[in-house]
Amino acid sequence: MKKGNSADTLYKAFIYVVLITLAVVIIVPVAWVFLASIKQNSEFYGNPWTLPASLYWQNFVDAWTAAKMGSYMLNSVIVTVLSLVILLVVALPAAYCLSRFRFRGGRFLNTAFMAGLFINVNYIVVPIFLMLRDWDSWMNYLFRLNNVFMNNLVTLSVVYAATALPFTIYLLSGYFATLPHDFEEAAYIDGAGYGAAMVRVIFPMAQPSILTIILFNFLSFWNEYIISMTLMNSATGQKTLPVGLLNLMQASQSAAQYGRLYAGLVLVMLPTLILYMCVQKKLTQGMTVGGLKG
């Protein structure tokens, strides 16, 4: 055992070096963007490792107003909140019934939603786009209305919620199925109807699962950009934050306005980073709840 000790220390030291290297590789680029967001434009032509000469907050003002990140942020908040509300209102009762009642077609629906887990949004974004555009041309033909479905934050939220349904229902059903039926029986004896038993007795118990769902879907809705880019395709119209950032990236590369680009990056990632710091435990645990346990 004695001989093993010095080899052990060496091994331990090696492990720490490796771990710290990876941590540095992840932290430094992110931290660099934070520092770069308060640098003046002239500072981007020298050594990239210098600290900011002063706190140049003007970048954030530019990003917020001139690059319209402020209004994009508002759009993103609206879309994210609205999609989460729609998703919960639609998915909670459905998951409850699908997992706790036996009814005609129930098994078929369960299988259908399970199969939905394998449909990826990237494949179906083009048909969704065409469908909404066709609906729009009908609206135009019938009522002379433009952009009823396309370039509409509400439609975008509905699409987000709909495409998140299979995963959400799968996760919630898994939880609901574990609860004993005594809970509702007791509520029915107390005179509660089906709806009251579900809302007052079962939903409060599902709070941890609901929180996990909100967390995961918040991140995916906030960060999503393909659907948003496709369905909000008017050049002058409203955009969500990631799409706005993508445009800003292309614009600042050619105009060499790096400061506001990095300020824009900070604006997009700050909310998710803050949320992550608050709930990181829940998030990394919730991931394994998602049915991926070996």
Binding site: Y16, A23, I26, V28, V30, P48, P93, V126, G195, G294
Partner: protein, 290 residues
């Protein structure tokens, strides 16, 4: 308890989800397959049936073939590199007594919560040819100025691989950590009494016992690399420079070639499905009970 109230309640609960699911997922999926057999005007919704013609053109399209080659290259490299790092770091963080274990887990998972657009922005700062982070570090080690054009040919696909690995390591690490922590500790104890070293323990105990989990993640790797490659290429690579399958499909949509785009979608889908099935079959082992 079979009252009309019960049926009404169930119908009310299930209908909204079913309708949304049908309109925005089932119908579009069906349409992907249907439209691949049609040609559709760029601005008018008139469709003409063309049979398998879209597919015939597709298999002769060198751009599509290149994009599929890129997809395969990314699947193979990203999977191997990410898998190696994720499983090694997961083993270290679960098996060794490390100070700040939690800290490392939190840090490694950060890239996973960032939008791909944000990651593309971060990496544009890393890859900047003059005074970018990567080239300045390489220059420091080389002792002379290094000016690699990371976002140009031929390095562009390497730069995508690096960014994708950077993003994925933490996610898979957390996944492996979860299944590794379920391996009973006394197995390791008795193994080390028998004189088995760390490496032996890893190959004889850890790997076999989490094999089911590894198989699941391999399918994950295939499906998610196909999707993530699209998100990364779309956000960080100049249009058309290094297309992957799905970004080729999206480019056809931008051109107004909807039927053609959907034919590409069908092929990519069948490809991912077949590859997952093959990998799943090839990695089949007898499951060990813990």
């Amino acid at each position: 308890m079979r009252s009309p109230g019960r049926s009404r309640f169930i119908a009310l609960c299930v209908a909204p989800a079913t309708i949304l699911f049908f309109i925005f997922m089932v119908m579009p999926t069906f349409n992907v397959f249907r439209m691949s057999l049609f040609e559709r005007g760029a601005y008018s919704p008139t469709e003409t049936f063309v049979g398998l013609n879209n597919f015939k053109v597709l298999f002769k399209d060198t751009k599509f073939i290149t994009s599929m080659q890129n997809t395969i290259l990314l699947i193979v490299t990203v999977t191997i590199i990410t898998f190696f790092f994720a499983i090694v770091f997961a083993a270290i963080l679960t098996r060794e007594k490390i100070k700040g274990q939690n800290f490392f887990r939190i840090i490694f998972y950060i890239p996973n919560i960032l939008s791909v657009v944000v990651i593309a922005g971060i990496f544009s700062a890393i890859y900047k040819p003059e005074n970018g982070m990567l080239n300045s570090i390489l220059s420091l080690f080389a002792g002379r100025d290094i000016m690699i054009l990371w976002k140009d040919q031929p390095m562009v696909i390497v730069s995508v691989i690096i960014a994708m690995v950077w993003q994925a390591i933490g996610y898979y690490m957390v996944m492996y950590m979860a299944s590794m922590s379920a391996v009973p500790v006394d197995l390791y104890e008795s193994a080390s009494l028998d004189g088995a070293g760390r490496l032996n323990q890893f190959f004889e105990i850890t790997l076999p016992l989490i094999w089911t989990n590894i198989r699941t993640t391999l399918t994950f790797f295939i499906i998610s690399t196909i999707n993530m490659a699209f998100l990364f290429v779309k956000a960080m690579v100049a249009k058309g420079m290094a297309d992957v399958g799905l970004s080729f499909m999206y480019a056809q949509k931008d051109e107004g070639l909807y039927g053609y785009a959907m034919a590409a979608g069908v092929i990519i889908f069948l490809f991912s499905f077949t590859l997952s099935a093959v990998v799943n079959h090839a990695t089949k082992r007898e499951t060990l009970q813990m």
